[in-house]
């Protein structure tokens, strides 16, 4: 079984979020980039588990610049067999999905796995776009996936519950919490990652459908108003008269 796992970088979850150049760019000063947690903990680790059970090969793909090679090596250290980097800065979801779909189409994969979203752009667009471009079924926000031959049994979240579905390969799937448990790379993995193949391919031509023109931060919260623990009537009155939420 050939599995392609989409890997994106994301700022560490404790990063201070600030903007620069007149609020048009994310301020990377002092920011540590990590593998997007949904891509790493759930998509990549589940792909590795499936390979361990059924054999096959796990390839990661990243649309990014040479600066992304360190997070790609991390994915290799966790256990991916090889990595591909499409040499362009990922800006717009569609043009990024297009590069991944183009590579996946010409190299043939049984499963394309993504995280359910990145923690910086939260767009949740990648899986659906790749699937549409490749004309494949897409199972979004999956919490469990078992393979039986070419048939996958997948649990996915739906509004107000869970659904169990079956689908045959090839398909695209986005992974959420529950799919797998985080793996910490060991020293052997880190050493091995240095010599695993990381292939750089040039992007194919594709238009950008969207662009971020500026960013802003939420208004700073006004001071917290403290209420005595014995005076819940006052809190209720504030919630009713001041906040007007009850």
């Amino acid at each position: 079984m050939k599995i392609l796992v989409c890997i994106s970088k994301a700022p560490d979850t404790t990063s201070k979020i600030l903007f620069t150049d007149g609020d048009t760019q994310f301020d990377e000063n002092g920011v540590q980039y990590i593998v997007n947690p949904y891509d790493e903990w759930y998509a990549l680790v589940r792909a590795l588990e499936l390979k361990e059970q059924n054999g096959g090969e796990v390839t990661t793909i990243t649309v990014g610049t040479p600066a992304d090679d360190s997070i790609i090596r991390k994915a290799l250290a966790i256990g991916a067999d090889k990595a591909v980097r499409v040499n362009m800065e990922a800006k717009d979801a569609y043009s990024t999905a297009y590069q991944i779909a183009d590579y996946a189409k010409s190299n043939g994969f049984d499963i394309v796995l993504t995280g359910k979203e990145t923690i910086n752009y939260n767009g949740s667009q990648m899986g659906g776009m790749i699937a549409e471009i490749m004309d494949l079924p897409y199972i979004s926000i999956a919490t469990k996936m078992e393979m039986n031959g070419n048939t996958a049994t997948i649990h996915r979240e739906i509004v107000g519950g869970d659904e169990v579905v079956e689908v045959n390969t090839p398909f695209v799937i986005s992974a959420a919490k529950g799919m797998a448990e985080q793996r910490i790379p060991n020293m052997r993995g880190i050493m091995a990652a240095r010599t695993k193949p990381l292939t750089v391919v040039e992007p194919v031509s594709c238009e950008e459908l969207t662009s971020f023109v500026s960013y802003s931060l939420p208004d700073t919260k006004s001071e917290c108003k403290y209420i005595d623990a014995d005076n819940m009537d006052e809190l209720v009155s504030l919630l009713h008269n001041e906040a007007k939420v009850i």
């Binding site: 404790t14 979020i17 903007f19 717009d92 979801a93 569609y94 999905a97 923690i119 910086n120 752009y121 939260n122 767009g123 949740s124 667009q125 990648m126 659906g128 776009m129 549409e132 897409y138 199972i139 979004s140 926000i141 049994t153 979240e157 509004v159 107000g160 519950g161 869970d162 659904e163 579905v165 079956e166 689908v167 045959n168 919490k177 529950g178 238009e207 459908l209 969207t210 662009s211 971020f212 023109v213 500026s214 931060l217 939420p218 919260k221 917290c224 108003k225 403290y226 209420i227 623990a229 014995d230 819940m232 009537d233 809190l235 209720v236 504030l238 919630l239 906040a243 939420v245 009850i246």
Partner: protein, 313 residues
């Protein structure tokens, strides 16, 4: 401007998030709703009250398959010549909107929280609620994924015509084997009021007071990540960066310290009340109202105070 709004009516009702999307669409232009399944005309008529002039319904399509829904929406766009597609950006909407965007090569503003402004940009949530981005769609047609609970739909009092739209949407490659609906009437992601609790409650046996307060308020219940991870509460209650992102009018947090990852899931709440024994808990910095005290004492007292308020109002 002409708008197509897709709403999910598969369970026989128009959800609040659907009415939000209809109302949002009607603020942009003449709005046609597209949906599928066997929902009644009476229920569908609701959307007229929120600004839609027409409904196209595919009654042959009885499952929510994103590939088929994407075809349905694109057929509706072809029929009406719409330049904007609006979809509530919930679990199904995310899969549908991203497919539609790629299928039509129309830019997707994912996670919109406001109407497009004069220069055409749309404000969206980024950095897990810690910032906003202004997205420009570079294509003539656009798709907008509207964040749930980001506006309050108002009744306009209009009427709507309903037209069968049984276009061919292809076959589904996905077979649904079973569906399990979670218990409780109020969906966490749609709830206007949420009562949430964390490790400070010491054990799952103490959640009775959280549930009682939620019941009195008519609120949904939620929890922090550690509580879901150790199995005190189900995962579908987990609010935070890696769980659900909620935007209620009122979020009451008891015994949750307020780690940055939890705050990312609740930042969009209108009013936050924090109950914690530790005056240094970081959550107080994000709170509108704070109570320094033991949740075991405060929650029952708050429950009584709200009961009293409800009896008098």
């Amino acid at each position: 401007m002409s708008v197509i709004v897709y709403i999910d009516t598969l369970n026989g009702t128009v959800a609040k998030s659907g009415l939000e999307a209809v109302y949002y669409g009607s603020k942009i232009g003449d709005t046609t709703v597209v949906t599928n399944g066997s929902v009644s005309d009476d229920e569908l008529a609701k959307v007229g009250n929120y600004g839609a002039s027409k409904i196209l319904i595919n009654r042959n399509l009885t499952e929510n398959n994103p590939a088929q829904l994407s075809k349905l929406i694109q057929s509706a766009v072809d029929k009406t010549g719409a330049d904007t597609v609006v979809v509530a950006y919930d679990l199904i909407g995310k899969a549908v909107a991203s497919r539609v965007s790629a299928g039509m090569k129309a830019g997707l503003a994912a996670g919109a929280i406001d109407l497009p402004v004069a220069d055409g940009t749309i404000k969206v949530n980024v950095f897990s609620g810690k910032a906003f981005g202004n997205v420009k769609v570079n294509t003539p047609k656009k798709v907008i994924g509207l964040t749930v609970n980001s506006l309050s739909p108002e009744e306009i009092g209009g009427t709507v015509t309903i037209e069968d739209f049984n276009v061919d949407c292809g076959t589904s490659a996905i077979t649904i084997k079973s569906v399990e609906k979670q218990e409780g009437d109020i969906l966490l992601t749609e709830a206007e009021l949420v009562v949430s609790a964390g490790r400070g409650l010491k054990g799952p046996e103490n959640w009775g007071m959280v549930e009682e307060l939620a019941q009195t308020l008519g609120a949904a219940t939620a929890c922090s990540r550690p509580v879901a991870d150790i199995g005190w509460r189900p995962h579908h209650e987990h609010v935070g960066q890696t769980g659900y992102v909620v935007r209620p009018n009122l979020y009451i947090a008891a015994g949750i310290s307020g780690a940055i990852q939890h705050l990312a899931g609740v930042n969009g709440s209108k009013t936050i009340v924090v109950i914690n024994t530790d005056p240094e808990a970081p959550f107080f910095k994000a709170a509108d109202y704070g109570i320094i005290g033991d949740a075991f004492e405060v929650l029952p007292k708050l429950n009584e105070a709200i009961k009293k308020f409800k009896a008098n109002n």
